[in-house]
Amino acid sequence: MTELVHAHDEHESTGIENRKLGMWAFLSSEFLFFGALISNYLLYSNRPFADSVVPAEVYDIPFTSVSSFVLLMSSLTMVLAHNALTRHDQNATGTWLMATAMLGALFLGGQVYEFRTFIVHDGLKLTSNPAASAFFFLTGFHGTHVAIGVIMLLSLWGMSRRVGSLSERHGMNLELVGLYWHFVDIIWIVIFTVVYLLSTPV
């Protein structure tokens, strides 16, 4: 019987799976993306804007500290989900995936609350001054990344429930989503320190 040859024989010349290599390349480019956002904020947060509220004046550090903690813990639940998958524990995988998604959603909820407080109570809006624009722009894009991550996590969770058992292919997907999720977390690590903790009003 003739053996079928697959055009897409996975015989990676580097020994690193295609999609994994692709994801790491993509994440590397995201440094340039968030670097621009953070630099933009650093530029404008360094300037005085008379008669206008700037973000550094209205930060609620305790609140944001709790959000940061929540996001950090979601990275823990993410690796536990991956670990459960390697042990072929379907239930635990699903549980930890859902936990990660929930923590991510909680973080987003915190962001929404924070933005509302700034806009409604403190009068800090996207249109207030360039520093405010830069703040909302940066945290808004980070939040969007978190939201996309949550959607992907929920999709994985859904797949694990429906399909019944995450196959090796889906397992790679979980690992990829995990990488993305941790990246979003490390960006927040930088933002929390550089934007919140190191910001002093000029």
Binding site: E3, H6, L21, R47, S133
Partner: protein, 658 residues
């Protein structure tokens, strides 16, 4: 014997089956078809960009001319530049990379075939989105002013003025909401955003392909230079596109949502835009030239019957150019008010980039030196590239001297420089590639006679058009302005320039005719029409669907050449006695794979997902209306559902039993 690549038979999700016909092309994931699609789309935009240039040149052919209005002039040069860069040179390079990269490394496809299709569709939709500005925009004067551009009444501006008119670089706050209200600039910014996304996705695909899908024995330093340059370009894209993405979002947010990034009166900094734009913009010009350098590195050795001189040096010089390219961007800002320290630093870094560039030029010359040159059309264009690019590079070096650049900035001297490197460089290189690889695409050769007519007309026309711009610029002729006064005396040379532009146009017409006729009735090429050196020439022409009947094992650089030629004691190539038989065997085996080859199946999801992107962006532009908001939601749903379907669809379908 019949070709035995199997096609999927399953109809789960009603997956497309056919690879022929209209739907075959719409749902294709075959890198060769995608390459051809890129090529035709890019060439179409080349014609449009060329027509825009011709209109500009008619306007500038005489002083104080009023062939078009000032507003139309501004929109035309903006669209000309944007089109040529983003809709012609980049996609045409992508066309070559798509078609050839897998062939040159001994692979059957790229790493992510469906993502490849996605890139093309996003590009096409992006180009359409950008040009749809002409349907949806109308020029408006800035708030508080009643006239724009040359004190003309808006109603007199003409239909062509509806396009974005801030130049391809869209400086802020000139192109912000206050000075440029209306939708055109949003179409520009979001259009570029869409195109950038396509290129980013492509770059990830190519990086993984080159790293992971090389045939056995195809070590990195055995890869053709074109593959190396493509990989370097992919890295440049990967790291420069996110920067412009943020910058463009900032523009859109300023214009649509009232943010104040570049609003000077509110404390926004216009120089920030320049930094962000040129941080992208400078690597971008290397993205534009490196593929052509790769093509020329393939063509010169074949038609000199000599190996590429200093292969490793050329490869590392290419990588060095890319790396240094991230350190020179502010040389576009020498007259923008940056500090003397910054000017000095960037002047020096710009001069340094001339070094690896010079290394390449000398190595190309070294390749030709003492070679047995065959002056076929691809070679003519490659030599033309060498000469024209060198001229452009030399004028570039004069820009690196800061006080000199202050005189040259915003004059036609700069226009001369970048057209010599982009047209004389990239476009000549592209034509070299089109003539050289035409047999691979079609199985035929293009007419040499017509090719030579094309080359000489283009060469003469090109130099007539752009050489005078050097001295016109040094005499003080300012760029980006629709008229020049009679008293300045620029008239006669401008007439020459405009005539040259029309000669170029005629040469392109000759090329198009040659392409069409040769495709239909050109002489069959056979497997190895040029006596070439690299792996892509070891398979039949036109390329079979599965590329390689048997994936090759590579033993050296220029592996194919070494299968045909030995070296005598003086180092000269001696054709082996079994060379012709080798070629015959390759042809025979290439058409008849021993085992069935299962290829990735076509898919609807790339085009579906791509369609969501412009939908969302149309929604952004009209977001104040219900229709706009609806479009955002519809577009998002379209893309997300396509993504989910894609995630559940296997790359290949289960094979049917015979």
């Amino acid at each position: 014997m019949t070709a035995t690549a199997t096609r999927p038979s399953s109809t789960i999700f009603r997956r497309p089956k056919s690879t022929e016909g209209f739907w075959g092309w719409v749902t294709t994931v075959d890198h060769k078809k995608i390459g051809i699609l890129y090529g035709y789309a890019a060439f179409f935009f080349f014609i449009i960009g060329g027509i825009e240039a011709l209109i500009l040149r008619i306007q500038l052919s005489a002083p104080d001319n009023t062939f078009i209005t000032a507003g139309e002039y501004n929109a035309l040069f903006t669209m000309h530049g944007t089109t040529m860069i983003f809709l012609f040179v980049m996609p045409m390079s992508a066309a070559f990379m798509n078609y050839l990269l897998p062939l040159m490394i001994g692979a059957r496809d790229v790493a992510f075939p469906r993502m490849n299709a996605l890139s093309w569709w996003i590009f096409v939709f992006g180009g359409i989105f950008l040009y749809s500005t002409y349907l949806f925009s109308s020029p408006e004067p800035p708030v508080g002013l009643t006239t724009i551009a040359g004190n003309l009444d808006p109603s007199e501006l003409g239909w062509l003025a509806r396009g974005p008119d801030g130049g391809w670089f869209c400086y802020q706050p000139n192109c912000g909401p206050f000075y440029t209200p209306g939708h055109a600039m949003d179409f520009w910014a979001l259009g570029l955003q869409i195109l950038g996304l396509a290129s980013l996705i492509s770059s990830i695909n190519f990086i993984v392909t080159v790293f992971n899908m090389r045939a056995r024995g195809m070590r990195l330093l055995r890869m053709p230079v074109f593959v190396w340059m493509s990989m370097v370009v992919a890295f440049l894209l990967l790291f420069s596109l996110p920067i412009i993405a943020i910058a463009l979002f900032m523009v859109v947010f300023d214009r649509q949502f009232g943010s104040l990034f570049f609003a000077a009166q509110a404390g926004g900094d216009p120089i920030l835009w320049q930094h962000l734009f040129w941080l992208f913009g400078h690597p971008e010009v290397y993205i534009l030239i490196l593929p052509a350098m790769g093509i020329v590195s393939e063509v010169l050795p074949v038609f000199s019957r000599k190996p590429l001189f200093g292969y490793a040096a050329i490869v590392f010089a290419g990588a060095a150019i890319a790396f240094l390219g991230f350190g020179v961007w502010a040389h576009h800002m020498f007259s923008s008010g940056i500090t003397p320290v910054a000017q000095a630093a960037f002047g020096i870094s710009t001069m340094t980039i001339a070094v690896p560039t010079g290394v390449k030029i000398f190595n190309w010359m070294g390749t030709m030196w003492m070679g047995k040159i065959r002056f076929k059309t691809p070679m003519l264009f490659a030599i033309g590239f060498l000469a024209m690019f060198t001229i452009g590079g030399l004028s570039g070096v004069t820009h690196s001297i800061v006080p000199s650049d202050w005189q040259q900035t915003d004059t036609y001297y700069i226009v001369a420089h970048f057209h010599y490197v982009l047209f004389g460089g990239s476009i000549f290189g592209i034509f070299a590639g089109l003539y050289y690889w035409f047999p691979k695409f079609t199985g035929r050769v293009m007419s040499e006679r017509l090719g030579k007519v094309h080359f000489w007309l283009q060469f003469i026309g090109f130099n007539l058009t752009f050489a005078p711009m050097h001295w016109l610029g040094l005499q003080g002729m300012i760029r980006r302005t629709w008229q020049y006064p009679e008293e300045a005396g620029y008239g006669p040379w401008n007439m020459v320039v405009s005539a040259g532009a029309f000669i170029i146009a005629i040469s392109i017409a000759v090329f198009i005719y040659n392409w069409v006729v040769s495709k239909r009735r050109g002489a069959p090429s056979g497997l190895d029409p040029w006596d070439a050196r690299t792996v892509e020439w070891t398979i039949p022409n036109p390329t079979p669907e599965y590329n390689f009947a048997k994936v090759p094992v590579i033993h050296s650089l220029d592996d194919f050449w070494h299968r045909k030629y030995d070296e005598d004691d003086d180092g000269r190539a001696v054709r082996r006695e079994d060379a012709d038989e080798t070629i015959r065997t390759l042809e025979e085996e290439g058409r008849n794979p021993a085992t069935p080859i299962h290829l990735p199946a076509p898919s609807y999801f790339p085009v579906m997902m791509a369609a969501g992107v412009p939908t969302i962006f149309y929604g952004f532009i009209f977001h104040t209306s219900i229709a706009g908001k609806a479009l955002i939601v519809i577009g998002a749903l379209l893309s997300i559902s396509a993504l989910i379907g894609w995630g559940m669809e296997p790359l290949e379908e289960p094979a049917e039993h015979h």
